[in-house]
Every structure is written in structure tokens, then in C-alpha cells.
Symmetry: C2
Subunit: 242 residues, 2 copies
């Protein structure tokens, strides 16, 4: 079975205190940009891969989606999702995204927020996502940006001019990166941006939009602590069509 950091008690506690966990979509600064890449959800069949607490699933239901399914590897996450969901109608299922089987041509939209960088065999998952979408169906996802993931020692550096920089190395060396984020030894899988996009195109997707997320002027005025996100991208948002 794949790594399941979310059921590590320390990770779960730390995760539950993140703004995006407590406040939901409104606590995620990239949400407006990601939302703008989504189709109108009314009447759609929606699958969320790595649904966590189910914030997106609930929003999709509010938008009038016909069917909303959330998958997550973490039983604790899904338990919380079911508690937080006021009414029924959303199917939460425990599943390992490395080995999950998905029904053919069954969804109009597959969504995933910041989960794909934990997947070792992402090409296999993207092939399943392609096949579970109906022709013309949409894939919209966020993933940690390769610039953020690549370094052997990710972190800010202040240069001799006082300029904050993000030192990159190992960009072309794809594979696992072990970091200490909320828990020790969290494994993420670095791929170049080119590899990710070529994998999508090679799987049969047509790219629609690629957003290396950074804060807008308005957001920066409201949350000055996001200024460093102008220096290097932390997240990548992608939309594609089957």
C-alpha cells in the first residue's frame, strides 16, 4: 500500500490546524484561480481524488452536481468528511490512488487538490482518470510545483543583497523527495513540468490551461505574508479535457 501520511497522528493533527482544513475552500488562496478553471457543475457527475475533509465535494453538491464521489486513502479524513457533511448524497470511499480501479466513462469532471505529488505511479492514475471521464469530460487539479519540489533542501535563502531567493537544484532528477512537513519523512514525487504535461498529452488529454499560481494584488493587500509566493511558484493548477 502507498504511503498514508494522513493517518499519522502527528500529521493529522497538524493538517487539521491548517487554514485550508479549518476554513475549507475559502482558506486556500489558490481556490479562486482553481474555481475559474472548472466547468459549471450543475447536473455533472463529479469525482474528487484525495477529497480530505470533503470541502470540495460539499461545494460541488451545492453547485448542483448530480453525483459527487470523494476518494481518500485516509479513514480518519473520510470520517471527518462524513461528520462535516450536513446531508447525505456524497459517497465517500476509502481508496489508495496508486491501485484504485475507476469505472469507465462515468464522470464529467475529475478534480484533485494537492494530492498528485504523493502518487508514485502518476501516469497509471492519469490513464485511469482519462478512462473514467466521458469524452469531453474535464480534469482540473492542483499539484505542488516542480520548482517547489525539486530542491534537495527546499527553503528560502536571503542573498547578500537582502533578496529572498529559492535555490533550485536537481530539477532534472525526477523521483522521490523526502521532506519533513507536519510529520517526518513525508515522501513526494518530483516530476518536471514538461514530464507532467507530456504525460497528460500522451494519455490523450488536451491541455486547456496551466496556472503557476501566484497571489493577485488584491490578495497580497489582504494577506501580505503571501508576498514570497511572488518569488517562486509553490503550486501548479492544470485543466485538461478528455
Amino acid at each position: 500500500m502507498a504511503q498514508n501520511i494522513y493517518d499519522d497522528p502527528g500529521f493529522f493533527e497538524g493538517y487539521s490546524r491548517l487554514r485550508r482544513s479549518m476554513e475549507g475552500l475559502a482558506g486556500a488562496p489558490e481556490w479562486p484561480a482553481l474555481r475559474a478553471m472548472l466547468p459549471a457543475l450543475r447536473g455533472l457527475r463529479v469525482l474528487d481524488l484525495g477529497c480530505g475533509y470533503g470541502w470540495f465535494c460539499r461545494w460541488a453538491q451545492e453547485q448542483g452536481a448530480r453525483q459527487v464521489d470523494g476518494l481518500d486513502v485516509s479513514a480518519r479524513m473520510l470520517e471527518r468528511a462524513r461528520q462535516l457533511t450536513p446531508a447525505g448524497g456524497i459517497a465517500y470511499t476509502q481508496a489508495d490512488l496508486e491501485t484504485v480501479e475507476l469505472p469507465r466513462a462515468s464522470y464529467d469532471l475529475v478534480y484533485s487538490s494537492l494530492a498528485f505529488h504523493y502518487i508514485e505511479d502518476l501516469p497509471a492514475l492519469l490513464a485511469k482518470v482519462h478512462d473514467t471521464l466521458v469524452p469531453g469530460g474535464a480534469l482540473v487539479f492542483s499539484i505542488e510545483h516542480p520548482i517547489y519540489m525539486a530542491p534537495s533542501h527546499p527553503g528560502w535563502h536571503v542573498d547578500e543583497r537582502g533578496q529572498k531567493t529559492w535555490p533550485i537544484n536537481g530539477y532534472q532528477v525526477e523521483g522521490p523527495r523526502t521532506t519533513d512537513w507536519l510529520a517526518q519523512g513525508v515522501i513526494k514525487y518530483h516530476r518536471t513540468l514538461g514530464t507532467l504535461l507530456n504525460t497528460l498529452m500522451g494519455t490523450g488529454f488536451t491541455l486547456r490551461h496551466v496556472d503557476e499560481w501566484g497571489p493577485t494584488d488584491e490578495l497580497l493587500a489582504a494577506q501580505p505574508e503571501l508576498a514570497e509566493e511572488r518569488e517562486r511558484p509553490m503550486m501548479l493548477l492544470v485543466s485538461a479535457r478528455r
Copy 2:
């Protein structure tokens, strides 16, 4: 008129001593990857934007292209191209890519090597490229990678562990970057990778391949000095179809 660094005597002298200038396509380490993205050229009408010494134009002619046109802003470059071209059949024309007019639906392939980062209004040029291609025609180009261009002070840093890193800042701040490369005050235009790809898609292109070029193991064995190109990408290679 746009910046024309190539007619600066110092720049021209330095440029003429680069391996890729002296040895042509074989002196450019990214050429095999770029070549693999090209369609078969036999019978095609080909336009090279920023043709320089005409190495690609000559190769295209050798491959059996039906028509080969090379545009460059530099009269000195074109003079050298005409001298180096053994036979006729290639039309070399001086043109400013910021303001050039291109005939509609007249080419099967538009090629450009490391010129687009000098273009301030790249969206306007890409729209003209789209319209000068026949439907189904190909655009294949290389450009300096945004990771390479973004920093206010681009250059390697050796961290306290002895690791060579490439410190990034200002990635989200698009616009001019002034560097001293062969001549002082050379102006390049930084755009994020997302902006570049979205501009292409918004112009009507379908993306086919995105290569953040890095050396293969074989190339690295032959040219160990390319090892640093594994740490961060310097060039981006893109193919797209009208």
C-alpha cells in the same frame, strides 16, 4: 524598432565564437531533442524566425523542404548566412519580429531557436505565426526557460553543503530582464511558463510537446561541463499545431 543586439560589434564577435555559431546545429546540445519534435520536412514550406547564420535553413533544405525562408533582425547575421549558404534556394530577409507582417496560410512549419525571449510583444508575434501557418501546420521553437530568466541576479550559488543551486526570485513578476551576456544591457522578456503556454492555447494552438531541456546520460558523458544543466533548466522546447 526593437533592440538589435546582434549588430552590436561586441555582441556579434562574441556570438560568432559560440559553439552553436561555429559548429551549427551539431554545436547546440538541445538540437537532437528539438529535431525529434519536428515533422518530416520533405515538401514542406518552412519559415525560420531569427535564423541567424542560417544553420537550420540549410538543414531544412537538405531535408527536402520545398521552400525555406529565414528572417532575422540583423543585417550582419544575414550577410553571414548568405555567405555560408553554398547554393541558392533559401530566401533570407531582414525583418523586425516585433513588427513583421507574415503572409496568411503560407507555411507548413514555423521554427525559431532562442529568439522569442527577446520579443516584447510575443502574443502579437504568436498570433501572426498562427495565421501564417496552414491548418495543421506546426510551430516548433526553443526559448530561454523562465527559471533561467526570472532572477534579478541570475547565477549559480554554492550553498553551505557544497551543493550548486540556482537561486530564483521574481518568478511571478513578468517583464524585462537586463543582463550582460556578450554585450552589456541585453534585454530579455520574462514570462512564466504558464503564461507562455496559455498564450499559445489562447491563440488557437494545440500543444503537442513541452521539453524543459536537460542533458541525456550519453551527452553528459561526452560533455561533463553540462552537468549543471541537470540542476535547473536553461531552455524550454515547445511544439504545437495550428
